[in-house]
């Protein structure tokens, strides 16, 4: 028997390490320290109900576990074999306790390829990775396949880059393999900049060896002996686990000179990012690895021709790499049987926002939004109404009710006016103002624009100003046209992918929620009731008892009225601070 304790970021933040200690202590006390292993794993995906503890092999899934629950888990489940009912997940519909993870709605529709080992193995122990066929794919490549065979398998599998653009991975490898040079590099892009996505981090924290193995396979295929992982300094746990994994892989001879006794040598170094979103763009990333400001440069030349230190470099995303070893070991036929015609395999999404089951999910390409949001995600929080989902982060757009049944893949998302991006999926409900959401993303872009080219540096700032203007009730219909024109200019004239995609959140909300923009500019009203400056406070005469609480609380003396008589708000003076609303005990202050 094994006890798996989630060591993902979410669960660690909720002190899962204390649970681990308590479980160990309890087992020790009962003399079971040697028989039952307690392992800290990577994220299980069901972060909403963390901290999570799983009992293997029966897959019992305990949620919201507290350190003091360790005693009952050991006494009841481990010793007497009786699962602890009160810690089981309760299905929100049937209200029944769900005995194991296989029967949870959250997991039923998922297929785990990139996340295959996350939440199953101890990421700090290479033997557990090897026990699940780890490094077998690398062995197969080196001993049975030529580099051309490897590239051919990846091409036929239909794998496309998970870092955003969806470029065919096999083709990229082929280009890099054909460029002749004395030194080539395999680069793993672990910069994960989308501010609402954490899949790459979870793979690195939960299954670091799969990335090392895949990079070595890539090195074998393209003829590179050096790998570089560019990882954000903000991910200390992932860095620590990568370092441990690198040490173990070298010790086992799976990295270094003459791997598996062949003449193939490959080793990997870590490079650290320092908090700049644009460094996720591959040319900027390469400059950053060279110790410079991470500013993008024009493509071509592509990194595959001239990358790190001017040498051919193959850049792939973490999740892309994570799929590679299984494609080799299970065969491209298997991988390409999953997904849609032009998007094969699965995609990991970070499901977040106004949804019941926030977490990390992996579904076959072609799954619909409806399945993701209402089946896996368990629907909208607090029974509110679904409004939109933002995919592709600051480069993407929003999808609405009418897209709920669209099968999700690279091409359908683009056709719907959004994009796959890295897989952030933020669900919004009726209380979210779409103008504010667009403004939020623009704020991000303005902060992150590297400033090299004018359309992005200045244009996005203007866009942000206009949006701020509108959310304050100062916009006009002409501003909406100006907004659209500016978006198109920025898209067409920016140098890199950041500027070329930054207007997308604005364009897509304009397309789907024009009525909301119009309400802001013509009626000076925010339909979602979220723009503070557009709120109007008034006092309902019938409900006001004249207690004067509101008038005393108002910082600008905007409220007048006699004691025991009805009070009034002077709209000219009101600064919409909301103090009166909080002060009134009789519900007489109305917001709209």
């Amino acid at each position: 028997m094994h006890l798996l304790v989630c060591g993902g970021t979410g669960c660690r933040a909720a002190e899962s390490s204390l649970i681990l200690e308590s479980l160990k202590r309890e087992l020790e006390e009962k003399g079971l320290g040697n028989e039952v292993q307690v392992i800290m794993t990577g994220c299980f995906g069901f972060c909403e109900k963390g901290p999570v503890v799983k009992v293997m092999p029966d897959n019992t899934f305990y949620v919201q576990v507290k350190p003091e629950d360790a005693a009952v888990i050991v006494a009841e489940h481990v010793i007497k074999g009786r699962p602890v009912q009160r810690l089981l997940y309760v299905d929100p519909k049937s209200k029944e306790h769900v005995p194991d993870s296989k029967h949870m709605g959250f997991y039923r529709k998922q297929i785990r390829i990139a996340l295959r080992n996350c939440g199953f193995i101890n990421p700090e122990n290479i033997d557990e990775y090897i026990a699940r066929e780890g490094y077998a794919a690398l062995g197969k490549c080196i001993s049975e396949l030529t580099p051309a065979d490897v590239i051919d398998s990846i091409k036929k599998s239909g794998l496309r880059g998970r870092g955003g653009a969806g470029f065919p991975t096999g083709l990229k490898w082929e280009i890099a393999s054909k460029n002749k040079a004395d030194q080539k590099y395999v680069v793993c892009n672990a910069d994960e900049g989308d501010p609402g996505a954490f899949m790459d981090r979870s793979v690195l924290e939960g299954d670091p060896h799969s990335i090392l193995e895949a990079m070595a396979i890539c090195g074998y295929a393209i003829g590179a002996s050096k790998g570089l992982i560019y990882i954000r300094a903000e991910y200390p746990l992932a860095i620590q686990r990568l370092k441990i994994a690198l040490g173990q892989a070298r010790e086992y001879g799976l990295l270094g000179k003459n791997i598996f006794g062949s003449d193939f040598s490959f080793d990997i170094e870590l490079r650290y990012g320092a908090g700049a979103f644009v460094c996720g763009e591959e040319t900027a990333l390469i400059h950053s690895m060279e110790g410079m400001r991470g500013e993008p440069t024009n493509k071509p030349p592509f990194p595959a021709e001239s990358g790190f230190l001017g040498k051919p470099s193959n850049v792939n995303n973490v999740e892309t790499f994570a799929s590679v070893p299984v494609i080799i070991s299970k065969g491209w036929e298997w991988f390409s049987s999953i997904g849609t015609e032009k998007s094969k395999g699965t995609k990991v999404f970070a499901l977040a926002g106004k949804i019941n089951n926030v977490g990390l999910i992996e579904v076959p390409m072609g799954t619909t939004l409806r399945e993701i949001i209402f089946e896996i995600g368990g629907g909208i929080k607090n029974g509110k109404k679904f409004k939109a989902v933002q995919t592709g982060g600051p480069s993407g757009g929003c999808l609405t009710e009418k897209h709920l049944d669209t099968p999700i893949d690279f091409d359908n998302l683009v056709a719907a006016g959004s994009m796959m991006g890295s897989g952030g999926m933020i669900v919004m409900d009726e209380d979210d103002c779409m103008v504010s959401i667009a403004k939020f993303f623009l704020e991000f872009t303005v902060e992150e624009s590297c400033g090299k080219c004018a359309p992005c540096r200045i244009g996005n700032k203007r866009l942000h100003e206009l949006l701020t203007h509108i959310t304050k009730g100062n916009g006009t219909m002409a501003d909406l046209d100006r907004l659209k024109n500016m978006c198109n200019v920025i898209k067409d004239t920016s140098l890199c992918g950041l500027g070329q995609t930054s207007p997308n959140p604005v364009l897509s909300t304009l397309n789907n929620f024009m009525d909301e923009y119009v309400a802001h500019v013509t009626e000076k009203r925010c339909p979602a009731g979220s723009c503070r400056e557009l709120m109007k406070y008034s006092i309902i005469v019938d409900k006001c008892v004249g207690c004067t609480a509101c008038a005393r609380g108002c910082p600008v003396n905007a409220i007048s009225g006699e004691r025991k008589g009805p009070h009034f708000i002077d709209q000219e003076k009101c600064i919409k601070c909301g103090a009166c609303f909080e002060k009134c005990k009789f519900g007489a202050v109305l917001i709209n």
Binding site: G10, P195, E290, G291
Partner: protein, 160 residues
């Protein structure tokens, strides 16, 4: 460059040289050098940047250019208890802005500032990977999840 003027002591200088040496004084390693130096000093004041530039034999402008480009590097010391509010998308839609406003109000600070007594500093960051707990606030190494504006006072109290 920065408003803070400090005098580098010989031991500080030695430390900087030691860090640069450990990367073979290789300009390609500038970002790694800066990471290690900031780990040691807590921030990267102008004088430290000059010393690094000297040692790596590159211009101070190049070092300054890199330091100011990356938001992870800072030229002002952080507070004893650095407070970071996650402003990632998931936290934003679950009300992070109101939490940030409350911290600003309680501490009378803007983002990027430190209280005069050096106790608290305020910053925002993007997705810490705990979206399930949104909105998320970090104080030093401690993570607070599902923070409501009303919780802010109690959180600050823990550090008094």
């Amino acid at each position: 460059m920065s408003s803070i003027k400090i005098e580098l002591r010989q031991e500080d200088l030695n430390k900087i040289h030691e860090i640069c040496d450990s990367f073979n004084n290789e300009p390609l390693e500038l970002i790694n050098v800066l990471h290690r130096t900031q780990e040691h000093f807590g921030y990267l004041p102008a004088e430290v940047q000059e010393a690094i530039a000297d040692k790596l034999n590159i211009s101070t402008a190049q070092v300054y250019g890199v330091v100011t480009f990356y938001s992870f590097f800072t030229m002002t010391p952080k507070g004893k208890h650095p407070i970071s509010i996650c402003m990632g998308t998931a936290c934003y839609v679950r009300g992070a802005e109101k939490v940030l406003d409350e911290f600003k109000k309680e501490l009378a600070l803007q983002v990027g500032q430190t209280t005069p007594d050096g106790k608290f500093s305020l910053s925002s960051l993007r997705c810490v990977g705990a979206c399930g707990l949104a909105p998320v606030v970090l104080v030093g190494d401690k993570t607070y999840g599902r923070v409501a504006p009303d919780d802010v006072k109690a959180i600050l109290k823990e550090y008094e």
